[in-house]
Symmetry: C2
Subunit: 171 residues, 2 copies
Amino acid sequence: MASTELSETGTNRYDIFDCSVARTLEHVGERWTFMVLRDAFYGIRRFDDFQASLGVARNILTKRLAKLVDAGIMRKEPYQEHPTRYEYVLTEKGRDLVPVLTSLLAWGDKWETENEPPVRLIHTTCKNVMHSQAVCSECGDEINAFNLHLDPVPQIVIERVVKAKLAAHTT
Amino acid sequence: MASTELSETGTNRYDIFDCSVARTLEHVGERWTFMVLRDAFYGIRRFDDFQASLGVARNILTKRLAKLVDAGIMRKEPYQEHPTRYEYVLTEKGRDLVPVLTSLLAWGDKWETENEPPVRLIHTTCKNVMHSQAVCSECGDEINAFNLHLDPVPQIVIERVVKAKLAAHTT
């Protein structure tokens, strides 16, 4: 992805956006990376098992795993000596990606699935088939497009959107 | 991204995965696409305003907006006649991406931000600065890497992971 954008724009302006969504996508925005994470949540740990599951070329898998280790999302743990072999395990930072994966899953199940969802999520605490919902950390109520406000509002939004709304009210 | 993968693998095996995460990333996995959505949630609607906000090349922005309209995530609405000009508005399907964006934001704020997060989310219902939390749609309790189970478990996971665990228990 990055290389495609670079060839089109000549500069990766994206990197300089001071935005946590952008920073997160730097690490997990590549689609094979998400597939690796999905398998890691299933419990897959070894290179050959990731490879067998995903059918991805070994050189791509090597790059994606190395990137996840560099980012602190997975760590390498030796499981054999002479020669030393490693497996790849999710860190706390990696396990914290659960809401990202489950929100992608919930949206895909709702909007991109014609029949039954291909994979069902079961919450082992309550034993129900469920989907992920996003709530407010403070009051526990649902968050949605109509009850969220971002602070600060970027200058461009103030200039173009807020001023336009004010103008509409005063005419 | 797709073109990069294609050149590396010769085939886009990714597309054939029967997985809602994969399907969602088909639509929203491109990073500029997410930046467009972020601005749309701020209230930006017009091509020139997206362009001024993102600093993205006009040809890329045109492609990303067209893809979002094709996917039913945004729709075009005329705001001027002679000549007709359109603005781009989030649909219900687009607004339903809030949990995807807020979970990416929450993770980035926690793990990729050294000082204060650059943007704060305020829940207008309770007026608090907050972050998005993922909970179970059925019982309302937190979901995390330790209390979720996927059904069905893919064959490769049964073969490699489950059998390995059973073997460890019986020796």
